[in-house]
Subunit: 434 residues, 2 copies
């Protein structure tokens, strides 16, 4: 028998703005950061669980305080009870009426919920000695459905429909697993296309990525449209026309602006335009999608909960659904959205990059591939080559594929030395800059 | 010449849960709270500005920290510059890319934006010696349009359409102002209908309200439907059938549940059902509205920004638009939503109650009445008889109408003694309870 006896929360920030890594039209100088949670338990094994939420600098302190404010709800919970009721923590955190007021289920409080909920999942998977993707995939269909909060989505997906989707996917499961372990999950790279990079650096990174076997490239747009088009042509020169090119406007445009700009950018034959406009604008995305077909529309890294994704699907507002492992309130809500996407037959292409998002989403995509997706061949996972060295169990990329993690848990643990160096504002790196 | 030289932020909480004031189906035990901002200026007058955001207890500390985190952006700003560019603070706060990540424009960061933005408006109105409703109404149409951030809403409302709406409303302005000053703004009461009250208390409060001239009553539902219906019948017995009855489910229901329950509650002839389901569910509200007509649908106290309201209007998802003066990012966004509502000819019926929401919204409704609304006779303002004694310039109700405030500013200043008593957790009231 073991209980959660301590919740530690750290403000960890990396000074990525120095190199313009991660720069885009909306976010010119991000310092990639995490509100990082460590759960400690008693019992003979003294297991720990880690989870975090990702931010880009200022505002990380708000997620840290929100984790600390909600932490008392976790103290004293028994691992056996958490395993028996996989929604226990989600229900407790999302159901607190006072915290709910400052959301509900959105913004700071929901980002913090993700860190705490994911830390509990990490703990449970470690207790069973399995990576999260395996832990989830080994659950019964009924257990998987029990993870999901159907409140406000049952008009689009019922528990029994969810059971059917899982059964259907599992009927071809054995075959899928063999492929997945051998080849890994197909990935795309965003590493070459940041807006702050010089042309020469973009060309060099594109060439290196082609040599490394990458077949899918994402480029940031949303600056001056003439300049955007010039950069996209430059990327096409390097990657050719047989590889896929995706564009990302990071919400810079309005609706008619999106449609007009994509008429011009259609020249470079993009697979999708990502975040053309506000993530809240469901009806706007639907209008854009209709106007720019056959180019697809992708969004999700700032779509804040299952209720918004439900409507995006109902309104035919997206071609690719870019789940975010921190924006949604942790793995419980991620599973809800995977099931919704399968119901509407829209592929899930998770958002990654930042701090540790790649580490998180490989588990989500593998579980989706094995257990939920209608067409697993459409799954594609973002990859950004940043900050992996700080993780205890970093992602492994081979031939443009994520190779599946084997260590128990959610791959969410940051190395002790990195925690010491990058804790804000008292860590070594920050003290030396001030 | 005067500049902002200091931003003080206080955590103020009232232990309202003791009397179940404010109890509803979703929020059983709120402690009405405010993250309270005081701006200090130099210059000969040493003017101060106050603003706040409302929460119901836990989580207030997050809004306090968010105000503190953003406060440096206000330090050093000149009053003259703020007056010359009425969007300056809104643009600075909403445009900060790092803080934007933990929103965007929603949740804690947006609630805190409201407190800071509104404090600046309070300051500007005091500098001109006018109450906010008068300050706004005296602006030119071009100045009013300059308040609005059209990003993400210009597909529904252009600046020139906004100009036309103002001109149209102002063509009958003189007549309106005479009525408004004489009679005040028509109000409805929520004071009798809290879920935690006993039958006898509800009956007594209804009778007193009828005697005081109230013609519109709101009752909380969302518990057991049989019990809801029983309580509504009881209220009808007291208020008769000539007065209006509104129902409020505080998001307890799903969509088909809302439709089924409203078929039963139609018996008591409600004017509207408020918050039947999730405030994020635009398409869901539209389905409910269509199914339960002629009963109306009202929502807004948790609709988090102008982009969501835009879609609610585009999708025909509401009959009454319940703007919230803290949930939206302050007066700039409130004006945007008033204009959107006028464009779609939907009356704005502001959410009030809580801490100081009545004090805020009387200004909004008066400005709407004089300058924007298509049909001012449809404006109705919520009134709850709570906590007004803590304000320097509390609302005045006469014959179920808000009488217009005359003191300069936004009526947002809390009395010094109340601040000392209720500051959390060090104030006298909280020290004596612990």
């Amino acid at each position: 028998m073991a209980r959660i006896i301590d919740v530690e929360v750290r403000d960890v920030r990396f000074p990525t703005s120095l190199a313009l890594d991660g720069s885009d039209a909306m976010n010119p100088d991000p310092d990639y950061s995490a509100a990082y949670v460590t759960l400690r338990t008693d019992g003979p094994e003294a297991l720990t669980g880690n989870g975090f939420t990702f931010t880009i600098g200022r505002g990380n302190e708000l997620c840290v305080l929100a984790c600390k404010s909600m932490a008392p709800m976790l103290i004293g919970l028994e691992l056996d009870d958490l395993r028996a009721d996989l929604s226990l923590v989600w229900n407790a955190l999302v159901g607190d009426s006072q915290f709910r007021w400052v959301g509900p289920e959105k913004g700071v409080i929901h980002l913090a919920t993700a860190a705490l909920v994911n830390a509990v999942w990490d703990l449970l998977a470690k207790a069973e000695g399995k990576p999260i993707w395996r832990f989830l995939s080994d659950l019964t269909a009924a257990e998987i459905v029990s993870i999901v909060d159907f409140r406000y989505i049952s008009d689009a997906l019922t528990p029994s429909e969810a059971m059917d989707l899982i059964s259907e996917a599992r009927s071809t499961n054995t075959l899928r697993e063999r492929d997945l372990v051998k080849d890994g999950l197909l990935a795309y790279t965003t590493s070459a296309g940041w807006l702050g990079y010089e042309d020469d650096k973009v060309r060099r990174l594109c060439r290196e990525a082609v040599d490394d076997g990458w077949g899918h490239f994402k480029v940031k747009v949303g600056g001056d449209i003439v300049e955007d088009l010039r950069r996209c042509r430059l990327v096409r020169e390097e990657i050719g026309w047989d590889r896929a090119l995706m564009l990302d406007a990071n919400q810079k445009w309005g609706i008619s602006e999106s449609i007009e700009n994509m008429r011009q950018l259609a020249e470079v034959s993009p697979l999708w335009i990502e975040e053309p406009t506000s993530p809240d604008d469901i009806l706007g995305h639907a209008r854009i999608l209709k106007a720019i077909a056959p180019v697809g529309v992708a969004t999700g890294e700032m779509v804040h909960n299952r209720i918004m994704f439900k409507q995006m699907l109902q309104a035919n507002a997206l071609t690719y659904l870019q789940i975010d492992s921190c924006r949604l309130g942790g793995l419980n809500e991620v599973v809800a959205v995977l099931l919704l996407a399968a119901k509407f037959d829209v592929p899930v292409v998770p958002h990654a990059g930042g701090v540790g998002l790649c580490e998180y989403v490989q588990h989500i995509a593998a579980f989706d591939y094995l257990t939920i997706a209608r067409d697993p061949s459409k799954i594609l996972v973002e990859y950004v080559d940043h900050l992996h060295e700080h993780f205890v169990d970093p992602v492994r990329i081979e031939n443009a594929h994520y190779m599946l993690p084997t260590a128990p848990g959610y791959s969410a643990s940051i190395r002790d030395e990195s925690l010491e160096d990058f804790t804000f504002p008292t860590g070594r790196i920050w003290m030396s800059r001030s």
